[in-house]
Symmetry: C2
Subunit: 344 residues, 2 copies
């Protein structure tokens, strides 16, 4: 079946290709009328013919001529990661509603891969991109900016980038909030485990943790253990064993993966929460409600993060200025932070 072009529609409707193009690009105003300089009767006929023939716009041609592709790229570090998978869906829905199709590509926390991914999507003339930058990703992002492609930073900030939009979590508040709860509940030796990734979200969650400890005059007890993706499983177990020996009574975990690893290590070591160790986890997961004791955790407003990032991006595509939006985390209380008298 040969593909129907604008020309076929024009011929069949007895009008020029220009008219067809006008009609196909017209947006409907609030009254449902086509907003274009075309006789409504003619427009209607064109629409009918297009429908009848099964016309489908060729974005490649449109993009070549106009420079717009009606596609955006979304580049998380890993699409299969729980947090980004959820947010991606929200981005996708919002983008579709606004008339954009979405390219997805994972940067895998590697600046080389980020650069190659950005090269690829730029070659496809995308109109804008939403990126969760990895360490060292500045150069790649600047490539997009140099090509005048609007960029929105999601989840992680990069400093000294004036022309980008931002949709971030108030990570300092998230760290403070989690730690504060532990302190209020009477825990004292609260430590934290984090990754050496060098991304803003983690360092700010750490700042929040330190801030809360300081506010409660427990700064001397503050201690952060660092690990990497590869070593996390074994490191976490060590941190916990060692922590228990030193009298640590609570851990604040700033990511879902660390939370899961801690629960796993505790199960393996035969430790219970909150009796042996209180826990504040991060992000949403079934395990928080299904674990032997429900786990207190901090959730991000996924839907809002996704929708806002698309809104900010589309505004930039439309020539409006880049906005920065900071959203608030929420604390979901569970049994893992209830102070109990230890009964062996």
């Amino acid at each position: 079946m040969k593909r129907i072009t604008i020309r076929d529609v024009a011929k069949e409707a007895g009008v020029s290709v220009t008219l067809v193009s006008f009609v196909m690009n017209a947006k409907r105003d609030k009254d449902g009328n086509l907003d274009c300089p075309v006789n409504p009767e003619t427009a209607k006929r064109v629409l009918q013919v297009a429908q009848k023939l099964g016309y489908r716009r060729n974005y490649a041609a449109a993009s070549l001529r106009s420079g717009k592709s009606n596609a955006i790229a979304v580049i998380p570090n890993d699409i299969s990661n729980k947090f980004f998978a959820g947010i991606s869906r929200c981005i996708e829905d919002k983008a579709r509603a606004m008339g954009y199709t979405v390219f997805f590509a994972s940067s895998d926390e590697s600046s080389e891969r980020l650069e190659s991914v950005i090269d690829a999507v730029l070659a496809h003339n995308i109109d804008g991109m939403i990126v969760a930058p990895c360490t060292g990703g500045e150069a790649a992002i600047n490539k997009a900016i140099d090509s005048k492609v609007p960029v929105v930073l999601l989840d992680r900030d990069v400093e000294n980038m004036p022309q980008v939009g931002r949709v971030l979590l108030d990570d300092v508040e998230a760290g403070r909030m989690g730690t504060e709860l532990l302190l209020k509940k009477g825990f004292r030796n609260i430590e934290m485990i984090s990754y050496t990734l060098g991304i803003s979200s983690l360092s700010e969650r750490e700042m929040g943790y330190r801030k809360a400890m300081m506010d409660h005059d427990k700064y001397d007890n503050a201690r952060v253990h660092y690990t990497t993706y590869g070593d996390a499983a074994s490191d976490v177990e060590k941190f916990i064993k060692n922590g228990i020996d030193r009298g640590v009574d609570a851990f604040f975990l700033p990511t879902y993966s660390l939370s899961a690893l801690v629960l796993s290590a505790m199960k393996k070591l035969g430790l219970r929460t909150p009796e042996d160790l209180a826990i504040v986890g991060f992000d949403e997961s079934d395990i928080y409600s299904l674990y032997t004791t429900t786990v207190t955790h901090i959730v991000q407003p996924l839907k809002l993060l996704g929708e806002k990032s698309v809104e900010v991006l589309v505004n930039m595509i439309d020539g409006k200025p880049a906005e920065s939006i900071i959203l608030k985390p929420e604390l979901i209380p569970g049994g893992s932070t209830e102070k109990v008298t230890k009964n062996k």
Copy 2:
């Protein structure tokens, strides 16, 4: 910064645009040599100039002229769903390695949305698509086939579609395998909970379940409870309560979401596995190892499913015939299927 075109490169290198096009499209053969009818010296110079100028191919133009876009579409029912998120990542990696960029779009189990999504990606001239079809999605998929766009069915089959590729799990075997284990372990009143989605994977897992029950002369005990996404939470709880009353000693769950709901309901009802009810879950999740008792579950070879679907699709794009590939599930044993003497 003005975008560099093939013409700029040609001028700078002192050759024709044709030559540049040849060089930019040349694949490297096994010796690392450019496989094209161009003087190696010239080719090298062109490559250097392109690099220096920062040339980036404009896929819109290439696609318009050649009909190829080097992009494929992946359309699961929901990208945020654990199973598809994992598989998507594998697809993405494989596709990138083979030179393709990936559009993602969720069909949301709705044939209307599937159709609109397929329209959108076809308008972007994608070279092929990988789809997990929802009920009633035949028409939409035929649209792609009519446009001569290769289609690979992933995870779910649709009958009477001769021209499509298929990469599926041996779902009958998965159902049989899980049920068989329960029977071998001595459970007798084994029931199943499923969705009324009308998709092949679920109905085949059910066939496997029934097959195993029949093979062990327990067919009279076979019983499948159906629910929908919306009602699942409350229905599952009812099924379990009711089942316990009727002496059901095990449930086979054919999806991750049902497995999680069952564990959740059991926790709420104060039931333990395997003491009160044995469980075989589906797909991978942290909860299977973190639940009070580890949970026996069936896993799909995600990486293989993803990679194979890309391979089959790219072969079809290259004009080779459509293949059908059926992959084997694997059973991960846990504590939830160990027969124990019930001690109240």
